[in-house]
């Protein structure tokens, strides 16, 4: 296991210690480092919380900051955080306008967020939920509610964060976040496995010349193991599945996220984006906003995902709004 770590059991807590030492923009509540919140609060603003397992940085906690999220419950590596932690985060970030939970569609997270929402309800805090389910590889059309949430949640965060910063109501923020959720699709491809520190060896193995399309960000099996194809052919296959659900016609506008899963150099992500851009061009459609880099990783997994958000007049300015978190800054062009 080629990792910088001390005791694997302390992996998450030492990482969090490093984060608090580096970034005074965030802090924690209830004396529990795993209950991360923004240091600066804004009365009357809808609070936005997320949460999920560790091992996906900058997901999830990395998006807590100005104009994005207000808090995050941090779980162990690939583990849902507890209902308790989410409840503590909820109490702190509620500023009188209610709280929106945005997280990925995983049983553990759903159960724990549901429990936290019930606890918040007892406190008199209104909680709404938007559950990311962007991974087209994890279930068929018509069964979208079964799909996993992956990198596309970035767009849901960005839209919701900007809406809340505009001091919209909980209902409005929820509606807009849900609109982003419904209009984003993601597909990933993995070239190698990740290693969970407490486990100590690769979660799965992929042959030296193989790739797996549709693999989840915890190493969940995808929809097909094939020979590693040239980059352009890989993109063509990925984008075909996305275009099938988000048709890109003349004049349509999109935001695109090319996300590295951890072990893939940025150089290669740009080679992938080159082809993505060509495909939109061929259709006369426009990639209006683009982010390329690591946004939702699976530790050191080599691979990449492509997320596409269909824009409209309402979503566009929200996606384009500037944000500033310890892990991600976006400055208006």
């Amino acid at each position: 296991m080629k990792k910088f770590l001390n005791d694997p059991a302390h992996f998450v807590d030492e990482m969090l210690d490093g984060i608090y030492r580096a970034h005074p923009q965030v802090t924690y509540v209830n004396d529990d480092k795993r209950c991360l919140v923004v240091a600066a609060r804004k009365p009357g603003k809808v609070g936005i919380a997320t949460g999920g397992g560790s091992g996906h940085l900058p997901l999830f906690l990395g998006y807590v900051g100005d104009n994005m999220l207000d808090g995050c419950a941090v779980g162990g590596v690939f583990q849902s955080p507890s209902a308790d932690q989410m409840h503590e985060v909820t109490k702190y970030i509620d500023q009188g306008a209610g709280v929106l939970y945005i997280y990925g569609n995983y049983t553990g997270d759903i159960i724990n967020f549901d429990m936290a929402a019930e606890l918040a309800d007892i406190d008199g805090i209104t909680v709404k939920q938007v559950i990311g389910n962007d991974d087209v590889a994890s279930s068929v059309v018509g069964e979208e509610h079964k799909r996993r949430g992956v990198a596309g949640i970035f767009f849901v965060y960005k839209v919701a964060g900007a809406a809340a910063a505009n001091m919209l109501s909980l209902d409005e923020v929820t509606r807009l976040a849900d609109k982003a959720r419904a209009n984003v699709r993601t597909i990933g491809v993995a070239l190698s496995s990740c290693v969970v520190p407490e486990v100590g060896h690769a979660t799965f193995s992929v042959g030296e010349d193989e790739m797996e399309i549709g693999m989840g960000i915890h190493g969940e099996p995808g929809i097909g193991r094939t020979k590693l194809a040239p980059a352009d052919a890989v993109v063509d296959e990925m984008m075909q599945r996305i275009f099938a659900e988000l048709p890109a016609g003349n004049g349509d506008e999109f935001a695109v996220l090319v996300n590295g899963l951890g072990g893939t150099p940025k150089e290669e992500l740009y080679i992938l984006f080159r082809r993505v851009s060509q495909l939109f061009e061929e259709r006369g459609a426009k990639v209006k906003h683009v982010w390329i880099g690591e946004f939702a990783t699976a530790m050191e997994m080599a691979g990449a995902s492509i997320s596409v958000l269909k824009l409209d007049a309402e979503l566009d300015p929200l996606v384009a709004a500037p944000v500033h978190t310890p892990f991600f800054s976006h400055i208006k062009a």
Binding site: G75, G76, F78, Q79, S80, P81, S82, A83, D84, Y106, T107, G108, I110, I111, N112, D114, M115, S138, S139, K146, R148, V196, E198, V199, T203, G216, H218, G219, E220, P221
Partner: protein, 204 residues
């Protein structure tokens, strides 16, 4: 032996030892159709309950069960933590509400229903519920402990041929068939341990 006369501290020790013994096996089952951590998760949970066993055993049974549930929620994590936790918390609350007149089987049925609601799941989804339902039925008809234990094991084994419709395994679709569900497996292990304890402590 009446339920609340049992030595809860000893029962906790037995459950913890059982999970410890099968930790790797549960991990392997979860690797096949999930993310491989079910053994480690359950072990973490049982260790935490074990550390608190003296305090827990000093409580009346309903409160003790609720406390165990809370510890499990907070330590197992993932999907299994809140599900096992819900089971025990609801069971404890149910028994408390009905005071002395509590019908254990009925309370258990209500706790299992709460787990199903929580997990948005039901029978045949290839989860720990597929062990809980038949075990509850055996208890309701006052079966002997060794019967209940055998039923738990058979039920866990029966998940092997099911197609997962909930949890991580559900993403595998048809590929989930042919593997026993890790949550069902741990649930059977715990049920069997508890049954054996009552078998040994009941005058035959």
């Amino acid at each position: 032996m009446p339920l609340d006369a049992c030595d809860l501290s000893q029962l906790i020790s037995l459950c913890r030892a059982q999970i410890e013994r099968h930790c790797e096996h549960l991990g392997r089952l979860d690797s096949a159709i999930g993310d491989g951590d079910h053994g480690a998760n359950m072990k973490r949970g049982l260790e935490a309950v074990y550390r608190e066993r003296a305090d827990i055993a000093s409580l009346p049974l309903p409160a003790a069960l609720e406390r165990i549930g809370l510890v499990l929620v907070m330590t197992i994590g993932g999907a299994a933590g809140p599900l096992y936790g819900t089971l025990l918390m609801e069971l404890g609350r149910g028994l408390a509400d009905e005071g002395g007149r509590a019908d254990f089987a009925a309370s258990l049925a209500r706790a299992i229903a709460a787990v199903a609601r929580r997990g948005r799941s039901g029978p045949g989804d290839k989860t720990l519920l597929d062990v809980l339902y038949p075990v509850q039925a055996e208890i309701a008809r006052h079966a002997a402990p060794d019967r209940i234990a055998a039923c738990a094991r058979t039920a866990a084994q029966a998940t092997e041929m099911m197609l997962a419709r909930r949890g991580r395994a559900s993403y595998l679709g048809a590929r989930s068939v042919g593997h026993e569900d890790p949550g069902a497996s741990s649930c059977a292990l715990l049920a069997m341990t508890i049954c054996q304890y009552f078998q040994e402590h009941t005058p035959s």
